[in-house]
Amino acid sequence: MSFKWWPIRRAVQLSIIALIASPLFELNLFNGNLAAGELLGIKLADPLAFLQATLASHLFIASFLGAALIVTAVYLASGGRTFCGWVCPMYLLSEISEKLRRRLGTGERTYSLNGTRWALAMTIILSILTGIPVFEILSPLGVSSRAIMFNGRLPLLLVGAILVVEVCVARRIWCRSLCPVGGFYTLLGQISPIRVSFSRERCTDCGECLRVCPVEEVLTPSLADNMPQITSGDCTRCGDCIDICPAKALGVGVWYTHSVQSKEVSP
C-alpha cells in the first residue's frame, strides 16, 4: 500500500467542519468561522475579510490585523491555496458535486483561472467605494459555515445555485474562476515554498494528472516545458495528482527549484 495524500486531506477538511460545529456540542475549542474565529484562544481571521472590513469601515483593530497576519503567514508557508484544497468547506462540497458531474458527463466548459484575481480586485475596490464588505455578503463560505453554526438554512440556496451551475454548466467555476479568497491565496501561492514537484524522467505522459486536477492549467508549464515544480499560485496543493500518478513523477517539494529539466527525446 503506497502512501496517499487524500485520506489525510479529507480528514483535515472534515475536522474543519467539526471545529466550526464544535460550539454546538459545548466544546470550547473553536469559536466563529473561517472569516474570523478563535482556535484555543488564538485569534485567526481571513486576510481578505480583514481587508474588506477595515477598508469599508475605517476601523482599525490591531488584534484583527494580527489574526489576519497569522493566517497569511500560515498559508504563505504551506502553499497559498492550501486553504482551498485542505480547509474550505465550499471546495469539499464542490469536490462532491464534481463526482456527480463526471458521472453525468455534463458541464465541461471551463473559464480562465484569472477570474479569481479579478474578483479579488473588485472586492477590494468595491469595499472601499461602497463602504460595504461585498464579498462577505455573498460568500458561500460564510453561508455554509453559518448554516452549520446556527439555523438559517435558507441562504444555502446560494450555495446550491453555485453547485448546480458547476454540475450543469461549467465545472468547478467557483473555485477556479470566481472566488476572491482563492484569488488572494493565489498571490501567496506564487511565492510559497511548498509546491508540487515534477520529475520529467519518470513522467510517461499518460495524462492522468490532468484528468484529476481541478485547475489542470497549472500542470502545463511542467508537462509542456519541463518545469521542475508547479509554480502557479492557482495550484490548490490538493495532492490528487501526486496520488494518481502511476509513475510517481509528482511529489512534494519543500523549497524553490528553478532548473529546467530536459527530456531525452525518444527515437
Binding site: A56, G131, E136, G207
Partner: protein
C-alpha cells in the same frame, strides 16, 4: 481530449491579449453582471424590512455593516441565545447579528461577552459598563392597550427592567374613573434606557405595547444658539 487541449496550449505561462480579453476578463465580467442582477435580491438596505437591534457595543449602523464580517462569534458568546444571524431578508445585512427582543431579549451580562469577542470592531470590545449600552430605546407605542395605563396593576415592563428606577420609573396619578385607585404609569427615560428589550419580551399583551425602537440621540434641556 485533454491531451489535445494541452498540445494546443501556449508554451509560456503568459497569455496573449486576445486570450486575456476573452477568457481573462469578458466571461468573469459577464458572470459578475449576471450574478449581480440576482444579487440585487440580497443587495438591498439591511433595514428594508424593519429596524434591526444590534448587539451591545455596536457602532453606528452604516459602519457596523461595513465592519461586520459575519463570523458569528458574538452569537456563540451569548449565553441566552439572544443574538440571531439575519437571513436573506436582511439584504446587505445577511449574516449580521441582531436581537429579536420579543423572542429572546438581551439580558445585559455584566462582562458583555458578545462585544468582547468581536474581531473587527463592529462591536466595541472595550465596552465594560452595561449602562453605557445604546442598542435602542423602549417606547410605549400603544397607550390605549397598555394595561397599566388603563389602571390595572401590571407594570411588568417596569419590574422586569434591569435598570429599574433608572430607565423606567413609575409615576402614579389619580384614576378618575374609579375615584379611589391610582394609575401607575411606567415612564421610560430615554437617556438611561439601553434598549435590551426585556420590557418588550415581558409585556403581557399579545402584541407588546412597549417596543424597542432605534435609539434617540440625546438633546440638551435648554436651547443652544
Amino acid at each position: 481530449m485533454r491531451y489535445y487541449h494541452l498540445n494546443n496550449l501556449n508554451q509560456h505561462t503568459g497569455i496573449s491579449r486576445r486570450r486575456f480579453l476573452k477568457d481573462g476578463m469578458l466571461v468573469p465580467l459577464a458572470l459578475a453582471v449576471a450574478g449581480g442582477s440576482i444579487s440585487t435580491l440580497f443587495l438591498r438596505r439591511a433595514d428594508a424590512r424593519g429596524f434591526y437591534l444590534r448587539p451591545p457595543g455596536a457602532v453606528e449602523e452604516t459602519r457596523f455593516l461595513a465592519a461586520c464580517v459575519k463570523c458569528g462569534k458574538c452569537a456563540q458568546a451569548c449565553p441566552y441565545g439572544s443574538i440571531k444571524m439575519a437571513g436573506g431578508e436582511a439584504g446587505i445585512g445577511i449574516g449580521t447579528p441582531h436581537i429579536v427582543t420579543r423572542e429572546v431579549p438581551c439580558h445585559l451580562c455584566p462582562d458583555i461577552p458578545c462585544a468582547k469577542t468581536c474581531p473587527s470592531g463592529a462591536l466595541d470590545r472595550k465596552l465594560n459598563d452595561i449602562e453605557k449600552i445604546r442598542m435602542g430605546t423602549a417606547v410605549i407605542i400603544d397607550r390605549e392597550n397598555c394595561l397599566s395605563l388603563r389602571g390595572l396593576r401590571c407594570e411588568v415592563c417596569y419590574r422586569q427592567c434591569p435598570l429599574i428606577d433608572k430607565a423606567i420609573t413609575i409615576e402614579p396619578r389619580h384614576n378618575t374613573r374609579t375615584g379611589v385607585h391610582s394609575i401607575m404609569e411606567p415612564v421610560i427615560h430615554a437617556d438611561k434606557c439601553v434598549g435590551c428589550g426585556i420590557c418588550e419580551n415581558a409585556c403581557v399583551r399579545d402584541k407588546p405595547v412597549i417596543r424597542v425602537l432605534a435609539a434617540i440621540p440625546g438633546q440638551k434641556d435648554y436651547y443652544e444658539f
